[in-house]
Symmetry: C2
């Protein structure tokens, strides 16, 4: 006669696990994103930058005289939300809005010397922080990680 199977319930102290979820990329990437995002947000705080303002500044530095609409598309935010971001950077005199030559609707963005300097400092810190993440994986793994993230991102984006 078979003994009754006793289902193990969740008492305090019992190990509770998200085993099913951990098999899914969506869940793993969310968990990793949350901690990285919090970590980098903290890192940028002394510079008075948020992740989005840093991203915007970085792209402006790399692409002098970029239009706001181009910037919005590049960093994947809807254009109404970019206004406050550029306002913030402009108020701190890190970037300038100038009339776009040849299109009187548009305005082009250019980083000031102070903006370029701040961006450089922040970027240096970010790279250093990233190196700390990389310490937990090999160089090969890091490369695969980057390539796989982009491949997945593109495979989904291209569908719609």
């Amino acid at each position: 006669m078979a003994a009754a199977v006793r289902v193990k319930l969740a008492e305090p102290g019992r190990v509770v696990a998200d085993l099913t979820l951990r098999k899914m990329l969506g869940y793993n990437i969310k968990r990793a994103y949350i901690v990285i995002q919090a970590d980098l947000t903290r890192l940028l705080e002394p510079f008075g930058l948020r992740l989005v303002t840093f991203s915007a500044l970085s792209v402006i530095v790399d692409n002098p005289d970029i239009q706001q609409s181009q910037l919005a598309r590049t960093i994947a935010i809807v254009h109404p939300n970019l206004v406050a971001i550029v306002d913030e950077l402009e108020t701190r005199q890190l970037v300038e809005r100038r009339p776009a030559p040849g299109d009187r609707r548009a305005r082009v963005l250019r980083a000031t010397a102070a903006g370029r300097r701040l961006c450089e400092q922040a970027t240096r810190q970010m790279i250093r922080r990233e190196a700390a993440y990389a310490a937990s994986v090999t160089a090969d793994q890091r490369e695969v990680l980057f390539d796989a993230l982009k491949a997945v991102e593109n495979s989904i984006s291209e569908e719609r």
Copy 2:
């Protein structure tokens, strides 16, 4: 005599790139997370589930009689926010709140038959969708991706 270097500006049509940002894990993971998250949210819509309600349901199914506080810690959300999530699942009769034996403060969560069924169906769809992502990377790359994400997540979490 050297010709004056003409800086290429951002005209409409010019390729604008986030090259500096793309060297950073934080940026790549954010971009990938956004598209995956949107994709999976769409997938769960027909089930009447959001990503977080699906996560909660999945952990409850896997851990019968888990306490709310344990669940909150497991899926990394602060406990006040779990209340509405469990309310939602309970209203739809996917889970039940029961008094916790031995601790009259606590309540334990158990999935109903309907909850288990819905979770199973949703999980099957999620796994199928994940397989589509996996098609853009090799099996080896997928494994490295998962391991690297967890390694990075843990390397940051352990610091604080």
